[in-house]
Amino acid sequence: MKGYSGVLKIVAVVLLLLLPPLTGQNYYFLHVSIMVGIFFILAQGLNILFGYAGQISIGHAAFYAIGAYTSAILAGTLSFPFWAAMLVAILFTGFIGFLLGLTCLRLRGEYLALTTVAFGEIVQIVLTQWEELSGGPEGFLNIPYARIGPFSFDTPVRFYYLALCLALLILILTRNLTASKLGRSFRSIRDDPLAADILGVNPTKYKLIAFILSAFYAGLAGSLYAHFTRALLPDYFNLPLSVLIFMMVMLGGMGSLYGPVIGALLLTASFELLRSLEDYQMVIYGLIILLITIFAPEGLVGIINKKIFQKGSTILRRT
């Protein structure tokens, strides 16, 4: 079984590497693929916080925005090199994650959810109003291309490979972290914070680590997004976007490594395809959440493991 899943992984990576030539470098297709990669990183970050550590967040677009704007301001206004802007954006977003985590330490369930919604709104308002810094509602324009040394990621194909590398890196990083003591500690405070505490797992510490890690991921995704679209609008980082990220984790499967891959893939695609149905977006999300909660609490990964690979197999569910 292990060999089988290994082959599956290699085939997947080869396919991803060959995607641009296979699709004839179709601009729209590459655009969607890059967004899948970015959303995967975002959703995986939320998966760590919500799926593994059990701390709900419906304000994740805020971290995404902070990462994007930090990177844009550093690279655009302050002329930082791309990699430095990205690094600082990740660290700064992580710091904000730490602060939000500290604020929310005693909150659980619906109270935490509401606080994170408020956090999302606040960040969006600040980005809209603080025009000197963010460009205000007109947006932050002319963000430089991502560039490492003399190499510029200035075509969709090049950017696709950048996003792919980072997404794979995040996948491996998440696998390593969640398969170790850190992952177990996260899951223990999610399953039963009191029992975890009694066994020596400091819930406060691990909640904060989850918030910081999750924000790191969002910072990376934001920075990528900024240098991909090269223009940021505060309106983009709204509540429906936070809900979308949340949905990716729910739909794919909470606390499973490949859940966010599936969630990001399906929902990014449908988000693009259903753009014309924007008014009904929230209704559709609502329905999906309802169905998932009732019929597949472990998300699509849970269904796949149960139906196709039978019980006990861990091709997609790595614990």
């Binding site: 491996i172 990083l173 696998r175 390593n176 972290l177 398969a179 170790s180 003591k181 850190l182 177990r184 500690s185 899951r187 223990s188 999610r190 399953d191 039963d192 009191l194 029992a195 975890a196 505490d197 009694i198 066994l199 020596g200 797992v201 400091n202 819930p203 606390g255 006990g312 614990t319």
Partner: protein, 257 residues
Amino acid sequence: MNGETLLETKDLTMEFEGLKALRGLNLQVKRGVIHAIIGPNGSGKTTLFNLISGIYHPTVGKIFFHEKNIAGLKPFQIASLGIGRTFQNIRLFRTMTVVENVLVGQHYKIKEGFMASALNLKRIKKEEERFKEKAFEILKMVRLEGKVNQRATELPYGERRLLELARALSSEPHLLLIDEPTAGMNEIETSQTMEIISRIQDIGVTVLLVEHHMKVVMGISYRISVLDHGEKIAEGTPKEIQENERVIEAYLGRKKR
């Protein structure tokens, strides 16, 4: 009385909005023994456990463990000093497998840095293997070695209790608080559990036991303290307790005169 005191409570009092769950309890637990706490429902046994493990902080009084006052410390800090416990209403990590539950118990023993884990260094793999091996040994002790990869919630009731015991034991505590280990168990499971608790004592762990099952208590305890309405009304060997007038009264009610 001989032997060194491992745990001592002094004037331990716990009040909940005017209700005194524990009143000035003085208790000494000797190192290396099985010490049982018995008493009718609501007599303060679980409150005592919650105080020792740091879930509650006492209104008045002190708790000395290895001669250090631990009252007011947080549960995870108390765990790090070497006190483990199980719960009356089993609290396993329900999405985790049997072995993972035990691995969480080894939290303090496992040293894995963030960066090393992130890079999945060989050292981490070895470390994980080593502790899985250890978890396996502990699971053998409670006869769950055949079910390491099952989900904790898939186990039958009695085995869930044993798993919780194994999990608490895996942190290698000096003192283990066991809260009603045989509640809901049948005869066979009960006697197995008794045997396991005796073996826990044999490997040098001091056991503080809350139990309703008198056969268990009388069979394995070195010393018994009896609580009633938050006060200690008697203490002694199993034989002394069985013959104690006040204990009989607390359990069966006052004799009519």
